[in-house]
């Protein structure tokens, strides 16, 4: 097994991007990543694409070959990876595994989603299909609904208040002000979150991530080859993935994700690191409660304290451990398949001191947590500043 480096990043603007296809968006993000890395088109050995559903959003299955097609890389192997909202994280993970295993030397890990083609009700339906179709979706359970049931359980068990959840949204909207690619550049208040319309009680509109178009890409190479290319390298210290039941009701604990606990623990063990060694984190805040549960389950805070520490500013950009400096899914936007890749883009750029106005000083080790469905898939990556 070879050590692996990430040497280039790219992403499109996130938002409602109008008449554009996901393969055009990926092409744009991939070219940016390739230019950043200094790799030529002919260097690319393989492409991975994280995408939830070109099928439903664009009436396009078999989306992966569209990427080498538009990049002018005909005949380059390409693979679509689907794991609900963790599709992007798994695209990166499989790219890393392919390079680590020695099968390829330069891999493009990409992710995309073109969601705004459909009305909200249809997007809600498409996303809900990531839950258990027989025992949940047929009964009207939506994605916000599933997280709302967890938010209520967390509220009953630990006293996590609407204001604590709202503090996640307020922080991430503030962070997104300094991210030119973010969907929203608008600060919000706790009152605005708490008083906005209810989507799935107790989650309001501002507790939820938006419907977004966008793509992201990174270039993955062997660590030993990193100096062959222009882009400053970040080292992949570890990754880990875990699965859980399709239905929420089949899990004994509803106040967090065992999958996050397992994936984070395994990632820490493989990297021989502990939560206190992490300088910066991007977590999957598809809903405000998801960020609170993530920072607890990853081991940064005790179970039940995630809401309080967020309200106290501990996870702010200038806090003890900055969480979602990019703006997170909440304010940067959540083009499903792109989100896991965009987390790696953010951490890579932070560790290369290339995050512009939102650069966090003195960061050496960063971590991502990407979640699929109602936590049925989790993938974590730990990255370290290169030499």
């Amino acid at each position: 097994m070879r050590d692996v480096a990430i040497i280039g990043t790219g992403m499109t603007k996130f938002g409602n991007l109008g008449r554009v296809t996901s393969r055009e968006l990926v092409t744009s993000a991939a070219l940016e990543a390739m230019n950043d890395a200094g790799v030529e088109r002919g260097d690319i050995d393989a492409v991975y694409l994280g995408e939830l559903s070109g099928d439903i959003f664009e009436h396009q299955m078999h989306a992966a070959p569209g990427i080498p097609d538009y990049l002018g890389l005909e005949n380059t192997p390409s693979t679509r990876v689907e794991a609900a909202c963790a599709s992007g994280g798994l695209s990166v993970m499989h790219s890393i595994m392919a390079v680590a295993g020695g099968f390829y030397d330069v891999v493009l890990a990409t992710g995309a989603e073109k969601m705004t083609n459909l009305p909200t009700a249809h997007v809600t339906e498409a996303l809900s299909m990531c839950a258990d179709d027989i025992y949940e979706v047929s009964l009207g359970v939506t994605f916000p609904g599933a997280f709302a049931m967890m938010a209520r359980a967390h509220e009953m068990e630990y006293g996590t208040t609407p204001e604590m959840r709202a503090a996640v949204a307020v922080k991430n909207h503030k962070n997104a002000m300094d991210n030119p690619n973010a969907q929203f550049h608008k600060e919000i208040t706790i009152e605005k979150v708490v008083n906005s319309i209810m989507v799935a009680d107790p989650l309001t509109l501002y507790d939820c991530s938006p419907i977004t178009d966008g793509a992201a890409a990174v270039v993955v190479v062997p660590w030993e080859d990193r100096h062959k290319y222009e882009g400053p390298a970040v080292k992949v210290r570890s990754f880990a993935q875990a699965s859980d039941t399709m239905s929420l009701h089949d899990r004994p604990v509803l106040t967090g994700f065992k999958t996050t606990q397992i994936a984070a623990r395994n990632a820490f063990e493989r990297a021989q690191l502990q939560p206190k060694d992490i300088d910066i984190v991007e977590v999957h805040d598809c809903f405000t409660i998801a960020e609170i549960m993530a920072i607890e389950d990853m081991g940064f805070f005790k179970k039940g304290e995630g809401g309080k520490v967020t309200l106290d500013g501990v996870t702010a950009r200038d806090g003890q451990i900055p969480v979602n400096v990019s703006g997170g899914l909440k304010a940067k936007g959540h083009p499903i398949g792109a989100s896991g890749v965009a987390q790696v883009v953010e951490i890579t750029n932070q560790l290369r001191d290339r995050a512009g106005p939102r650069q966090v000083p003195d960061v050496n080790i960063g971590m991502t947590q990407n979640l699929g469905g109602s936590g049925s898939t989790i993938v974590c990556h730990i990255l370290e500043r290169g030499d």
């Binding site: 009700a121 979706v137 047929s138 009964l139 009207g140 939506t142 609904g145 049931m149 989507v199 239905s247």
Partner: protein, 143 residues
């Protein structure tokens, strides 16, 4: 029929392989007859609801379909205001997770006014005659 006893109409004790492939069908057949079934592991006696092909406790695939007690306690819920197209005209509607008497849990629609909902309130399963399969399950208060 006594709770916990094999449901003979959908009971394939003799051919385990067919059982494994038909746990969803067994659940749907039963709920269409206003019953909730699970799988009882013949090794460790654990009963899983909804039915599963392999016992989560011991890994055995030696299972049989059994009817379970349709009463339980509401452990979490949400009022959904933005539903998928199939549920749009029903919004707002309530879904919740109920812990059955045997400790297993099941998601269903909840037909109880939102302001009366409380943690661990007693509920029992009822069945929507207008629809088929798992979507029939509606929890009503039994307090």
């Amino acid at each position: 029929m006594e709770v916990g006893q094999p449901l003979s109409v959908i009971f394939w004790r003799e051919v385990t392989k067919i059982q494994i492939e038909h746990v969803v069908e067994a659940y749907e057949k039963a709920i269409n007859e206003d019953k909730i079934v699970g799988t009882k592991c013949l090794e460790c006696k654990h009963v899983a609801v909804p039915p599963r092909p392999i016992c989560r406790k011991c890994g055995s695939s030696d299972i049989e379909i059994v009817e379970v007690d349709p009463n339980g306690e509401l452990i979490t819920w949400t009022v959904i205001f933005v539903g998928p197209p199939t549920y749009e005209d029903r919004a707002p509607y309530i879904v919740g997770i109920v812990e059955l008497e045997n400790g297993e849990r099941l998601t269903g629609l909840v037909d109880i006014p939102a302001n009366e909902l409380k943690y661990k309130m007693k509920v029992s399963a009822t069945f929507d005659p207008e629809v088929k399969n798992a979507a029939r399950l509606i929890w009503k208060s039994s307090e």
